[in-house]
């Protein structure tokens, strides 16, 4: 597995810990169940902490704690299961989460751009993904009809810009 953060391949600073494992000294990602069970301790940590949500565990359940979370990891149990696209958008657009939103699980190259548009800034990808592959897939489309979490200008806004320019010129 490799981690791509904001388009760069980086070492994962975070250790994803099982519910029964001891917490490491440094950055750790825990399950929602563990977060809920050990919330006070985890909130008080000095080291960065993150929560991993499974499909069916909505961001609303940790909305109160986003101020303390460095990472929210959203699982794609199968690439067909697209719930996490909605979760990512809610984290960014509804709850204003500024930390890392990480895609984990069955993350395939043909979904990279959709994920980025929905607000994922970190993707846990297969070992065979190279920087070239990532660049190609993350940039397949350069025009977007609908607004999403990435704040990229939509076709509509580009049309409005063109129309305004035409009006100004004419």
């Amino acid at each position: 597995m490799q981690l791509i953060k904001n388009g760069s391949f980086i070492e994962d600073q975070f250790v994803t810990v099982g519910d029964d494992e001891a917490l490491p000294e440094g950055a750790a990602i825990v399950s929602l169940e563990r977060w809920q069970a050990e919330r006070e301790t985890l909130r008080a940590r000095n080291a960065p902490v993150g929560v991993r949500l499974k499909s069916g565990q909505e961001p609303s359940v940790i909305a109160q704690d986003l101020d303390k979370l460095a990472v929210v990891a959203l699982e794609f149990p199968a690439y067909r299961n697209g719930r996490a696209y909605s979760y990512a958008r809610l984290l960014r657009e509804r709850y204003g989460f500024k930390g890392e939103v990480r895609a984990v699980g069955n993350v395939l190259r043909d979904q990279f751009q959709f994920m980025i548009r929905c607000g994922f800034d970190a993707l846990e990808v297969a070992d065979n993904i190279t920087p070239e592959i990532f660049a190609e897939c993350a940039g397949f489309f350069t025009a977007f009809y609908q607004p999403a979490a990435d704040g990229k200008p939509t076709v509509l806004s580009l049309r409005q810009r063109l129309a305004a320019r035409a009006q100004a010129a004419g």
Partner: protein
């Protein structure tokens, strides 16, 4: 009709390039079939019984002559010289090679067409009324909002991996020719007391294994809020739709399980948030920009009566019959709506050869402002023809076996490809439609019977819309033998109804006689002016059941 600007074209071109790369990686083995399948499905490529099948999108069923000529050309170049128009206003080619698809799609893109999202668990082609822009009681041309929805739903990053497929239909008149109440989202254009245009939204309709009629979630969404409302529905579905069982994954199941009230509550809550955020607010200038493409063509100022037409009707009884069944009333005096039947007696419903496509393209260009429509009943429509040109149009159509005078009559059937083509089918549907067509070929008899919609499906997926046929025929497999189950009383219009099963299934040898018995039962008990569906609604299923299953 809508014309791509640079952005629309860019998006389609980028998709063609992306798919070209994906096909190359599949052919080289870099992608396994399991990895490739969702990608090819999102590009409308199925693996069927004999070969691949490509489903090309025809947004809200509207085509220009240029586009139809391209389809004719592609059919000759990459397929076997014909295509099949579907119950979602799309076109299917049955024999294209995977290795040719990138080139085929590249050619298609040059005429502003594509096969994007015609399959897969995403938002599919938005379908609408074939009489758009021509119907007398139209509130607003439904293709305007259909185009707006098309753009919003194309490569929507949040909704490309839904629990299941998602189908949207729009109606712009009180008569529903788009079957909106059996779609995942059905939109009815309405006007409030002040004359503002808004939308009634129905959610959770559908056919297939568990047919259901959509529930109205809202009476009025203003135009500028429609996308925010739709996004709210989609988000609720994406998050809460079932993903554990493929047969329980449509939004209709979610609505059924949580109830319409709860669905409305959740959608309203999400809608309120999205409205507050304002990012999906639809600016009036953009609506106006799209509206401009659907402005009425330059109609001439004509008298409503046409002496040429009246003369021709008197002179030619076949033409008179064609006018009687295939012509619908136009809102502009002196004009008419022409329905082209793709149901020749004994023919394959909905099939159209490349030669026929070229002929229709020529006729549309000459007589109907260069535009035609595909109907969800697998026919074609020329929306704006001068009454004085009707005879010339008829003669031109006749040359290519396109003048069958049977619109809405018993031989105007819907049939899915069925076991002759489809890998999902349990039984053949086309031959049943053909035998029924031949049995009732006599035109006088067809008119005596009047309006009667028979819909044939080859399996429970119901692509032939049998649930909403006045008579529905569902092909089933009983111990390796094809049998046919009959339903009665379905309807796809604004009085949407799911047909009732009449009794045990019939064999291939029995089904046509069974249909004839049903027809004769109707003829025996109908009152003056009653169509089949009216009689059925009055008397119920019993008289039909009795006659069908009376001891032999």
């Amino acid at each position: 009709m809508y014309r791509y600007d640079e952005f629309d074209q860019q998006i389609v071109n980028e998709r063609v390039a992306q798919f070209r790369g994906q096909v190359a990686r599949r052919l080289s083995g870099e992608l396994t079939e399991d990895e490739f399948k969702p990608l090819r499905l999102m590009n409308g490529v199925y693996l069927q019984l004999h070969a691949y099948m490509l489903r090309i999108a025809i947004p809200y069923g509207t085509l220009s002559s240029r586009q139809l000529r391209m389809l004719a050309h592609l059919g000759r170049k990459y397929d076997r010289g014909y295509g099949h128009f579907t119950t979602r206003q799309n076109l299917q080619f049955n024999w294209p090679a995977l290795k040719d698809m990138p080139d085929l799609l590249a050619e298609l893109a040059t005429v502003e067409m594509h096969a994007i999202q015609t399959s897969g668990n995403c938002i599919r082609n938005v379908t609408s009324d074939q009489y758009a822009g021509a119907a007398k009681n139209e509130i607003e041309d439904p293709r305007i909002v259909s185009e707006i929805i098309r753009q919003w739903s194309t490569f929507h990053p949040e909704f490309s991996f839904l629990p299941r497929k998602f189908k949207i239909a729009v109606s712009g008149t009180p008569d529903d020719r788009a079957a909106i109440r059996v779609h995942d989202i059905g939109i009815q254009i309405v006007q409030d007391a002040k004359g503002n245009i808004g939308y009634e939204v129905y959610v959770g309709g559908g056919l297939g294994r568990t047919p259901m009629i959509g529930k109205k979630l809202t009476d009025f969404v203003p135009k500028e809020d429609l996308l925010a409302y739709l996004e709210a529905v989609m988000r609720v579905y994406n998050m809460y739709g079932r993903r554990d069982n493929m047969y329980k994954s449509r939004i209709k199941i979610l609505v059924h399980e949580i109830g319409a009230e709860e669905m409305k509550r959740q959608v309203d809550a999400e809608f309120a948030e999205l409205k507050k955020a304002g990012t999906l607010h639809l600016p009036l200038e953009e609506v106006a920009r799209i509206e401009a493409y659907f402005r009425p063509p330059a109609f001439e100022d004509l008298p409503n009566e046409s002496t040429e037409l009246n003369k021709a009707v008197l002179a030619d009884p076949d033409f008179a019959n064609w006018v009687k069944s295939n012509i619908a009333e136009h809102k502009v005096p002196g004009y008419a709506i022409v329905n082209i039947s793709l149901k020749p007696i004994g023919g394959v419903p909905g099939d159209c050869t490349s030669d026929q496509m070229d002929a229709v393209a020529d006729i549309a260009e000459k007589y109907s402002f260069d535009e035609l429509r595909v109907t969800h009943e697998q026919n074609l429509t020329l929306a704006h023809v001068r009454k004085k040109d009707l005879h010339a149009v008829y003669e031109a159509l006749k040359k290519h076996d396109l003048a069958t005078a049977n619109i809405n009559l018993i031989t105007d059937q819907i049939a899915c490809p069925g076991l002759d083509y489809c890998a999902l089918a349990n039984a053949r549907s086309i031959p049943i439609a053909q035998r029924i067509s031949e049995r009732f070929a006599d035109i006088a008899r067809q008119h005596e019977i009047g309006e009667l919609k028979i819909n044939n499906s080859g399996c429970i997926n119901a692509c032939g819309h049998h649930h909403v046929g006045h008579i529905g025929i569902l092909g089933v497999d009983k111990k390796g033998v094809e049998y046919y189950q009959v339903t009665l009383g379905g309807a796809a219009d604004e009085k949407t109804a799911i047909g009732e099963i009449v009794g045990p299934a019939f064999t291939e040898g029995e089904i046509v006689d069974a249909i004839e018995k049903i027809v004769n039962t109707y003829l025996g008990i109908r009152t003056e002016g009653e169509r089949f569906i009216d009689t059925y609604r009055r008397v119920g299923i019993e008289p039909f059941k009795e006659n069908l299953y009376a001891a032999h």
